[in-house]
Amino acid sequence: MIRFVARENVPRWLTFAVPLASVVLAAIVAGIVLAATGHNPLTTYRHIVQASITQPGAFSQTLVSMTPLMFTGLAAAVAFRMRLWNIGAEGQLYWGAIGASGAGLLFHGLPGPLLIAVMLAVGLLAGMLWASIPGVLRAYFNTNEILTTLMLNYVAANLMYYLIFDSTSYWRDLTSPSARVFPQGKNLPAAANWPALQVGSLTIPFGLLFAIGLAMLLWGMIRATRYGFEMRVLADSPSVGKYAGIRTRRKILSLMALSGGIAGLGGASQVGDFSHVLDPRGLEQAGFGYTGIVVAALARYNPFAVVVTSFFIGMLVNAGFALQGPGFPVGLTGTMEGILLFCVLGAEIFTRYRIAVRLPHRPAAAPPVEARPAVPHGGMS
């Protein structure tokens, strides 16, 4: 019989070895799935690396894919760490995009840096407000946030579509000739294009740098501030938080809002860094919010690790776009993300438990043993 037995102490090397081993396992499992469906795994992997890193321009494209995932990954990490299951980063990002694109259009006269700051601020605010709805419902009515945030994603998506496809809203382009044939959003003025850093042949979007700074800020906040302390207490044990006088409900609301705000920044970055227009279809198909959950879970909710995992998932996503076609179906990206996350999730138990195999046999009646009449820990009698 196979049982899990708690480890007495957790060696440090194990906390690194286990995730690494699970990634290797995932690669093998994915390889099997590929082979079973008639694709050569090694070729596929090679293509992925080529399309995301080695080919000219590929690395920069990967950074483009990575940027929104950093935001939604941080958003999910901040919330999930506290067992607040904010699945609404998707909708919160949409609102960030709506807000930032509106600001970009409205304040087109402002100088560059100021305009960018305004777009960020509006994106942040929009995401925060949208997340506050399920936040209030959870904090004050104890309504399950998984479903509320999720439902609001669909509502936000519908709103985005309405703005561009079904109304004469401010966001909609009503004048240009192509717009009369097919609904599309108004392009943002050039001043609203966010800058990018050129390092050799590498183009690093402003949003990416901003996100890295954000990750550092969040890490510092969690570790070394009062707010972060309270968050860690509530994450470990809500009943202890109550006992210590922490205002749990306010904390829940503020954390949901923070999480939503970060996702909103991601939406602003999408508009400012890349699309320069409100593009409902593109945003919906990309599914940044949901992918961000994968990123956060792989990073075990650590802000720094999010930077790393968002890069790798960004690689996968980018490769998915570049290689689209018969050799690389669209669904492969999600399939591989899923396999990877399942392996990482499943392997975690091995950091705190080990396997003990009990063979069915009868132990001897009077075995020699060290008699150690230790005083047991309190609580067992």
């Binding site: 399950n144 999720l150 079904d166 959950i293 994968v294 499943g346």
Partner: protein, 323 residues
């Protein structure tokens, strides 16, 4: 006059049943899983897998219509159960967080995942379905006024869903195993102490939940839409999960909720078809989701929830000796 009203009424009921039946299947499935203490957020993914596999079979398998449909649904159920097995293994045996594991399942099998992968790989997107469930004429009574169409002019799967609900009620409250199931969900420690295998009940009912979600999903490609579009369930899996919550985990309430949803889904299409376009279509699309939120708030506000409701052991991995 009354004849026209009756017609509108009947048509609403019929569309309610049409759109509600997948929710009944998936909802009862999730109800079983949650009654055993396992939260499975992968319903949306499992429904899509059921849909795509059933469609694939119906396109490729030669033979008489009824047989192809039967095999298609069974294959859809089997594959979805397999998906559920992954979630069960990772969250029950390997004790991962059930919420994250379920979400992973949805991402894995969902709209950018395995279901689209299979669809694209086999080239079935956009093609018209060869077989679909059609409405039967039970006992030849379909022409009775009012109750004729509603009761006797439904497709086979609808009748199966009715049997399923009745069976679920009997199972939960009148069988020994159903009693044991309820205890596993409410208090795994107590059930384990009395010799009921918590692990086995959780596995079995999670798998059953998966199979039923697959059956529900298959209805999308074999009855409602009769072709394949990536992600065609459009959140039905999530609504099924919500249904479980505010039917208080009771099958007889769940079917009522499912039909209400079905009705709301079609109201938008209906009004547009009648030329009432002042309310944008996006509003009608968003309406079911808004309704869910309102219903959830109402449920969580009512103090009744404390007594009759959530299986107390839901979502928590069970380990003997640790509690």
């Amino acid at each position: 006059m009354s004849g026209i009203n009756a017609n509108i009424g009947i048509s609403i009921i019929m569309t309610a049943i049409l759109y509600g039946t997948p929710l009944v299947f998936a909802g009862i499935g999730e109800l079983f899983a949650e009654r055993s203490g396992v939260l499975n957020l992968g319903v949306e993914g499992m429904m899509l897998m059921g849909a795509v596999m059933a469609f694939l079979v119906s396109q490729r398998l030669p033979g008489p219509g009824w047989l192809v449909l039967l095999v298609a649904v069974l294959v859809g159920m089997a594959i979805s159960a397999l998906m559920a097995l992954i979630h069960a293994f990772v969250s029950i045996t390997l004790r991962a967080n059930q919420i994250v594991s379920g979400l992973t399942l949805t991402i894995f099998a969902g709209v950018i995942g395995l279901s689209s992968y299979i669809a694209e790989d086999n080239g079935i997107g956009g093609k018209a379905g060869k077989h679909q469930f059609s409405d039967l004429n039970l006992f030849g009574l379909k022409n009775l006024p009012v109750i004729g169409p509603v009761l006797f002019h439904q497709s086979a799967m609808v009748y199966v869903s009715w049997l399923l609900v009745v069976g679920a009620v009997l199972y939960l409250y009148r069988t020994r195993i159903g009693l044991y199931l309820r205890s596993v969900g409410e208090s795994p420690q107590a059930a384990d102490a009395m010799g009921v295998s918590v692990t086995r009940y959780r596995y079995l009912h999670t798998l059953a939940g998966g199979a039923l979600a697959g059956a529900g999903g298959s209805l999308f490609t074999l009855q409602i839409a009769t072709n394949w579009i990536d992600g065609l369930t459009a959140g039905a899996g999530w609504i099924a999960i919500a249904l479980v919550i505010y039917s208080f985990w009771r099958p007889e309430l769940l079917i009522v909720g499912a039909y209400l949803y079905g009705a709301f889904t079609s109201v938008g299409f209906d009004l547009q078809a009648r030329g009432i376009t002042s309310i944008p279509s996006e509003f009608w699309s968003a309406l079911p989701y808004l309704m869910t939120i309102i219903a959830l708030v109402l449920v969580s506000v009512s103090s009744v929830r404390m007594r009759l409701g959530t299986p107390a052991g839901l979502g928590i991995p069970y380990v003997r000796g640790e509690s």
